[in-house]
Amino acid sequence: MFVLIYFVFLTVCFLASAYFNQRTAFMLTFSLFMISMILFIVGGDAALRSVAIGAALLAGAAAVSFGFKEFLVQMADGDAGAFLRGGMMLPVMGVFALLAFASAYLGWGVTEVFITLVVLALILAPMSPDFAKELRTAPLTAAFGMFVIFVVSIMAIYAPLIAPYGEAEVISSAFAPRDESLLLGADQLGRDMFSRVIYGARNTVTLALLGTTLAFILGAMAGLLAATKGGMFDQAMGRTADVIMSIPSLIFALLMLSIFGGSLASPSTSFYLLFGFAIIVGLLFLAAAAEGAMGWVIGAAVMIGAGLAFAAAGTTIFDASEVILILVVAVIYSPRVFRLTRAVAGNVVVMDYIEAAKLRGEGNWYLIRREILPNSTAPLVAEYGLEFCFVFLLIAGLSFLGLGIQPPTADWGSMVRENATLISFGDPTPLIPAAAIALLTIAVNFVVDWMLFRSSGLKEQ
């Protein structure tokens, strides 16, 4: 019966596409028809079923992506982000982020709401009619990527509300099979797999996001400054980056983590390391912005204050081993960002408008902020997406090796390792977190591809 319906459906499809002169649709459906015949002969009913399920999944993903894209287009067309543009965006986001932090610290219980508002502001800000025009021409893959990222971020923010059980709650026997209440079964200690995947999104994604952001702040600032200042400063920065890059990144991470991280991490070391990182970034900012001796003194005071606050906040939100992990990732990835930023900014610095600004007597900070940065954001944003994937995979890999996120915290990488024994019994459970990693990475890459296409004009012929 199923086979009959299947073939009738395909026949109708290719006849219809032939009738309406849709060349590609016809080629697609007809070749699928031929392949299905062979598959039916070789694999029988079951093979056709899996083909049908695959096609339905693909069609479903395409439909959802299309819907999501249309939704974004409508929002952008309505100029939903108008009120956020013109300098409003950063203050609004800052206020919400502070409120979220306060709520987490004082236990108001509305942290998620504020974080959602921050994310919303981030999504709404670029929504303008111009953006709508570009969205319309975006490929479905990009829309699919955006949709996946959207879903993962919802999962991460509302993890405690979505997950049926707690992160480390033992609720059944080890490796219990999946049923009504355990959607994906249980892991090696009898914890709910589904809940842990959702919590894992929160932990892994947050750490990867933070690590990438810190790497970007450090690398981009150094790169911009090196391109504007040139000379000795450029050389010094470049050689430092070369030294860090010359050590294989995984080995370097293992080395650093076995010194500072893992179970050895103590809150005070992580506080000092975080503070040290803040001072390095602060020095870069000062080198760009400070004017005269007074500027340096005031700047240094502000920097130390901000550094202490940053370190305190970091150590309260995350536990010591996570802080170390973020820092290690930031240090390892910042040289790549540095190189890219320096190259991009190097192309901008030679423009006549930079010369005009220099002749006007503008300082480095104005040059970087108003003249160079707006002209290098597009490749930097694309690189951010790309680096996020690498960082994400590195963290997952480190967790898999047992050096990253520490148990019992759920994390996609370590979940693969914990359940790895099941592979030899032909059970797909360890593949679920692996699939989650793959899906998110691919989704981010889809979006990045689209952005690269947009910014650099990688026109396909």
Partner: protein, 558 residues
């Protein structure tokens, strides 16, 4: 020749080309007809955006990315319809029967291969000649195009050859298969006048010798007058008129054509130095060189008085722009000094106080790179006013409006726009406004009109002149275009190889006797007379024009 001309080679009928913008197809070329006979040279003339290059490409059956040739157009090349021909058939024509010479030879040659290897590529591809034969033919063509050392020059890489020589090598390359039609897309626009003349003479000779038909695309009327048998004037994708060269030059029919012809009429009256004033800027015995290099400037001195325009002329590499960099402080001179109202200027701009920086502003040649594409017009103009005068809020807005009025752009329309949304002339005006916003006394204009069409350039020159009269500005006007000098300058400084060869008031400079180099420059400026090139070559001989002559002169002065 007369019989040959009757045979039609290229016939374009009702050509419409559309471009895809804002999700719709818009006509770029709106129905142009064109008939070209064998051995005929047709000049296509018009401002940028008139569709000259697009028609040139369409003559090869090629539409650029994002454009398409509509179905009802017809392009017939030697009896073959190109619009319906397959891509393979069209490819077989290109290079062998239709060749293309691009504007920038330096950008069009592959820097990784020797000239002769690129030259022989087409004949080998079409199996017309063996490699050795093709190379011998290349040397022969180089000889006919009067390239120096024709036996040896082909074995150099593109970067080892000067711009004018590259352009001639490219013409030789286009000739390598003896095509029926060559499309010249502004081949001399990027060259100095002295170099241009050699290229023009070479192109004209070779086209005549092989009886090749050519489409000559340019915006310079005087150039097209030398080259073309007929001239077609285009405006925004429409044909304005077409006539044989003589007739077109002597009595153009349409108003637009007349306005093109009249561009060179603008002249500002000559001003003279005040009797006993201190010069505003005085360059005193300046030597300069880039890090580790040879001297680029050698004992350069001249004065610029308040409210006057000093034009600095010379071919590229003569040190005009380097002088400007010394004055603005970008390149501290190795010897000598710059005085401002008798007071020395700091040699390095980083050490100059704001008050000195504001006195001396720059306007750049390429408005595209001189304006930050990601910053609003209001901020581009407003920033200097804010930076130097500390204006904020409503006062700043008023100042920006006032400046936009000064440069004759409507403030309400342009206030919130970004540079990429403006035309070339508008961008250049914004560049001027940015310089004015600092309220300077002195502005360096570095080739400000050379990237613009003649009509637009004239508008810019008139604006600069008007501003000068209103605000008592002094200009240092760097240019290689002597027509511009004639229209706007009060004094002229002629530079060659980093030295000042001659200087004086404009009226004296354009009257003989000249320094030999000034004479060479002046005689190289194309005139509207279609026989100008022929007469000049007869008078001076082929070896006494262009680079050859200026090299000879340098030889003698040593």
């Amino acid at each position: 020749m007369a019989e040959q001309k009757k045979e039609v080679l290229l016939k374009i009928r009702d050509l419409k080309i559309q471009g895809y913008t804002d999700e719709t197809w818009i006509d770029i070329i709106k129905g142009v007809d064109l008939t070209l006979h064998r051995g005929e040279v047709m000049g296509l003339i018009g401002e940028s955006g008139a569709g000259k290059s697009t028609i040139g490409a369409a003559a090869m059956g090629y539409a650029r990315d994002g454009t398409r040739i509509t179905d009802d157009s017809s392009i017939e090349f030697d009896g073959m319809e190109l619009t319906t021909a397959s891509e393979g058939e069209r490819r077989a024509l290109r290079g062998s029967r239709i060749a293309y010479v691009a504007q920038s030879a330096a950008a069009s040659f592959n820097p990784a291969h020797k000239l002769i290897d690129q030259h022989t590529e087409a004949p080998l591809q079409y199996r017309i000649k063996k490699r050795v034969e093709a190379q011998e033919d290349g040397v022969e063509l180089y000889r006919r195009l009067r390239l120096p050392n024709p036996d040896e020059i082909g074995f150099r890489y593109p970067h080892q050859v000067s711009g004018g020589q590259l352009q001639r090598a490219m013409t030789a390359m286009a000739m390598s298969c003896r095509p029926d039609l060559i499309i010249f897309d502004e081949p001399t626009t990027a060259l100095d006048v002295t170099t241009q003349i050699e290229v023009l003479a070479a192109i004209r000779d070779i086209v005549e010798q092989f009886n090749t038909a050519a489409l000559y695309i340019t915006h310079d009327l005087a150039v097209v007058a030398q080259m073309a048998d007929t001239i077609k004037v285009l405006l925004k994708g429409n044909e304005v008129e077409q006539a044989p060269t003589e007739e077109m030059l002597n009595n153009p029919k349409e108003d637009y054509t007349k306005s093109l012809w009249a561009v060179r009429d603008f002249t500002s009256p000559q001003r003279y130095r005040p009797k006993d004033g201190v010069p505003l800027i005085s360059v005193k015995n300046v030597d300069a060189s880039y890090t580790g290099g040879a001297k680029v400037l050698d004992d350069v001195s001249f004065d610029i008085y308040e409210g006057m325009t000093v034009a600095v002329v010379g071919e590229s590499g003569s040190g005009k722009s380097t002088t400007a960099r010394c004055i603005t402080g970008l390149l501290p001179p190795s010897k000598g000094e710059i005085l401002f109202r008798g007071e020395p200027f700091e040699p390095d701009y980083r050490k100059r106080p704001r008050e000195q920086l504001r006195q001396c502003q720059m306007i750049y040649q390429m408005a595209d790179t001189a304006l930050n594409p990601k910053v609003k017009i209001s901020e581009i103009i407003g920033r200097p006013a804010q930076f130097y005068s500390g204006l904020t809020g409503a006062a700043l807005k008023n100042r920006v409006d006032e400046l936009l009025d000064l440069i004759e752009l409507d403030p309400s329309k342009f206030y919130n726009r970004y540079p990429p949304e403006l035309s070339g002339g508008q961008k250049q005006r914004i560049g001027i406004a940015r310089a004015l916003a600092a309220e300077p006394t002195f502005i360096v204009c570095d080739e400000v009109t050379s990237a613009l069409d003649q009509l637009v350039a004239e508008g810019i020159l008139r604006l600069l002149d008007k501003l000068q009269n209103e605000l008592k500005l002094a200009y240092m006007f760097i240019t290689h275009d002597l027509a511009t000098v004639r229209s706007i300058a009060d004094e002229v400084v002629v530079m060659q190889y980093g030295k000042v060869v001659e200087q004086g008031p404009k009226d004296d400079m354009f009257k003989p006797p000249h320094h030999p180099y000034t004479d060479l420059l002046l005689s190289s400026v194309p005139e509207m007379d279609p026989n100008w090139l022929t007469t000049l070559l007869e008078e001076r001989g082929v070896d006494n024009v262009g680079d050859a002559a200026s090299a000879k002169m340098a030889e003698q002065s040593k």
